[in-house]
């Protein structure tokens, strides 16, 4: 894929991101307005008001759960912003169109997820806690959320016989992960890294996590509201390993974050919207997700901007987002057909060339290397061995730890 093709859809995305953010914030506004004025309802009522996609699954189609072949029916797919290939005019998703053409399944694809917790509260918890199906057939959530859903028994197992590509082409390091020992609930969608996003024209090259505590960037820094990213990077800076982080190390990391917040170094703590804050020039250093800088910021940068992403020399965070089927999924055959479809290296490569994250599908690398060598040398998609060696994962937290730690983290954020 040449540069020009890369650029045009990127522009579209930036706009899409803005609108999507707006819509989500609006929904959040609705929820919290309810909470604040005391007229609110419980989360399940909120879930009922979210987009309820067509659920008219044809029973006949569900029955023929064969891999390949025209099965028809519907697929309701919830994903994150800018997380799949988008056509140049920004109106269609080529890989999804291909899927529809091959299988006859109509895909209702929504960029419905901005934050794991928020999505859990708004779309999953209400129906699943009542043993009801959700509005979605496939949702893409991060490892620790998969762990929670699996612990709650709220996931539907992926039938291996219906997904031969998934069985054959999943990269081995994703097999038998602690929260999914038999690799039957979660099909990895993308992996990514958390590191330093910066505007090189203003800051020069940044390779150390100390940049996030550098008084030079006072008021021009953003941190992430995802606890595991911000606390993870801070722990790494202090010399701890997030994979084995203790309560004491967590508290020390929080104190370090608090120092930066109280010292007014940090302008804002954001979700994915750090992209907008950087694009306007209000922030020049951000805790950033690897694919966003190239995929969302670079295509729209102005002449005096040069957005870059580095995994810090001290280390970075590694995470994986996974496709899972919520318990009681209505269109299981269609969902599995899609998982099987995505695990075709050709399709995965097509998505990869667009999203700039790390691909979990074996063989996608070879497809990309053959078709577009410049992508094969992209360190964000294929991180070199020395980068991989310094990536960390955040350890699994139990239910009470998760609540207490995120409450303590939220306190440091001023909430």
């Amino acid at each position: 894929m040449n540069d020009e093709r890369n650029e045009a859809p990127g522009k579209q995305i930036a706009r899409r991101t803005f609108l999507q953010g707006t819509a989500l914030a609006g929904f959040g506004a609705f929820l919290a307005a309810c909470g604040a004025s005391g007229t609110g309802s419980s989360a399940s009522a909120a879930a009922a008001t979210t987009a309820s996609p067509s659920t008219a699954a044809s029973a006949g189609a569900s029955a023929s759960a064969a891999a390949g072949g025209k099965i028809g029916g519907d697929l309701n797919f919830a994903n994150w912003i800018g997380y799949i290939d988008i056509s140049e005019d920004g109106s269609t998703y080529p890989s999804l169109e291909q899927f529809t053409k091959d299988s006859g399944v109509k895909v209702n694809y929504q960029e419905a997820i901005d934050d794991n917790e928020k999505f859990f509260t708004s779309d999953l918890q209400g129906p699943l806690s009542q043993n009801l199906p959700t509005a979605w057939d496939i949702v893409v959530v991060t490892d620790w959320m998969v762990a929670r859903l699996a612990r709650l028994g709220w996931l539907e197992a992926i039938d291996a016989s219906a997904t031969p590509n998934f069985v054959a082409n999943l990269e081995p390091q994703y097999k038998g992960r602690s929260f999914d020992p038999n690799t039957k609930f979660a099909a990895p969608w993308q992996s990514g890294m958390t590191g330093i996003g910066f505007d090189k024209k203003k800051t020069g090259d940044l390779t150390s996590l100390n940049a996030f505590w550098d008084a030079k960037y006072k008021g021009k820094l953003t941190y992430l509201t995802e606890m595991r990213d911000t606390v993870g990077l801070t722990a790494i800076k202090l010399g701890f390993d997030p994979a084995t982080i203790t309560k004491d190390q967590f508290d020390q990391s929080l104190a370090e974050i608090d120092k930066a917040v109280k010292g007014k170094l940090v302008r804002q703590l954001t979700g994915n919207s750090y992209v907008d804050v950087m694009a306007s020039g209000d922030a020049i250093v951000a805790m950033a997700w690897s694919g966003d800088v190239l995929g969302l910021l670079v295509p729209d940068q102005k002449k005096d901007q040069d957005f870059q992403f580095n995994v810090a020399k001290e280390g970075g965070m590694l995470w994986t987002d996974n496709m899972v089927m919520p318990k009681g999924v209505k269109n299981k055959a269609q969902a599995q057909a899609f998982i099987n479809f995505y695990y075709d290296p050709k399709i995965a490569a097509q998505v990869e060339a667009y999203v700039n994250y790390v691909c979990p599908v074996k063989g996608a690398a070879e497809v990309l290397k053959a078709s577009s060598p410049e992508i094969a040398s992209n360190p964000l998609i294929f991180p070199p061995q020395d980068v991989v060696a310094r990536l960390h994962q955040f350890r699994a937290l139990d239910a009470n730890e998760e609540k207490d730690w995120s409450a303590a983290f939220s306190k440091v954020l001023g909430l």
Partner: protein, 335 residues
């Protein structure tokens, strides 16, 4: 005859029925539901149980009262600012609007045709650190390079003021519009002239105190704003406020002031969008805390308890306020 009298007696209740049913279904029922949620214990993964944990009200309050105080400060400041902007505006439209009255009123509510959220996001674009406002000012050396408007408490208060200004202006307009002009003419016939020197002194005092308070809340040095406020207040008190205004117009517009300030203050205290989009970590309001507790930490009991504490706090505040201004004015009883 008897049947007619019966339906006459029932009519008010029948008319109340739809509204009451609506409130029961969409206000009372969810409120009770949420009150029960506040008494749950547990966590989202193992499930919550209703344990009548009343202690949560104490612990939530001790933990979060600074946020409630901050919200009241920001909401109060925004209400005062909206009043200072809205009163002259409403006065001008009501007394000097002439043939353009309707056009001017339309302009007041015109911003409502755009989403609240979009308007606030557009502030972010306009006021960006090197955007179309601050960029040229910085280039001209009028403000220091590290100066910023966004991500400050001042931006949050300004944003709330802007967003709620019409809620203040419209009730003020209605109250001012109703005033019988002959009363003012009569006052002038009876030698109601300028209000000097008392107006000068009162204006200076009010102006100085207001701007000093504003500066203090936004943690700025209060001296310069106080002097500035004193001068502006004195000028207004000397030249714009006459005896007729003080004794006729202002008292008769009290119902509008009461309604406008409540309509601004109550939603402003619970607002969280302005703090989220325009604020920094140090300017989070109670609405942001409740949102985070509900959506990020999935700690529903604390979130619900905080909502009820906020409701109670606002209710008490409003009762005290109504007591001070007098409920008579609520209905315009003095007219």
């Amino acid at each position: 005859m008897a049947r007619i009298r019966l339906s006459r007696a029932a009519a008010p209740y029948l008319l109340l029925l739809p509204g009451l049913a609506w409130l029961l279904l969409f206000y009372v029922y969810p409120a009770i539901q949420m009150f029960l949620v506040s008494l749950w214990t547990g966590n989202v993964q193992d499930g919550y149980k209703l344990t009548f944990n009343w202690g949560i009200y104490g612990s939530a309050f001790t933990e979060y009262w600074p946020w409630i105080v901050r919200s009241a400060e920001y909401g109060g400041l925004a209400t005062i600012l909206a009043f200072l902007l809205g009163y002259p505006l409403a006065y001008t439209i009501a007394f000097r609007g002439g043939a353009y009255k309707n056009v001017l009123l339309f302009l007041v509510i015109a911003p409502f045709f755009t989403s609240f959220l979009l308007r606030t996001i557009s502030w972010k674009i306009i006021l960006a650190d090197s955007g179309i406002v601050l960029g040229p000012l910085k280039a001209a050396g009028l403000v220091p390079d590290d100066f910023r408007v966004l991500a400050t408490p001042a931006a949050v208060v300004a944003g709330i003021t802007y967003n709620f200004l019409p809620f203040m202006t419209l009730p003020l307009y209605v109250a001012l519009e109703k005033i019988d002009r002959r009363l003012i003419e009569a006052a002038e016939d009876l030698y109601a002239g300028p209000w000097r020197p008392a107006g000068t002194i009162a204006g200076a005092a009010i102006g100085a105190v207001l701007l000093a308070l504003l500066a203090l809340t936004l943690s700025a040095d209060p001296l310069v704003p106080a002097i500035l406020g004193g001068i502006v207040g004195a000028l207004i008190g000397t030249f714009l406020i006459g005896q007729a205004f003080l004794r006729i117009t202002l008292p008769l517009s009290l119902p509008g002031i009461f309604a406008g300030s409540l309509l601004t203050f109550i939603p402003a205290v619970g607002d969280f969008i302005n703090a989220e989009l325009l604020g920094d970590p140090g300017s989070a309001m109670i609405g942001n805390v409740i949102q985070a507790r509900f959506l990020k930490i999935t700690d529903y009991p604390t979130a619900s308890a905080l909502s009820f504490i906020l409701m109670a706090a606002i209710l008490v505040g409003v009762l005290v306020y109504a007591r001070l201004i007098g409920t008579e004015e609520l209905t315009g009883g003095r007219i």
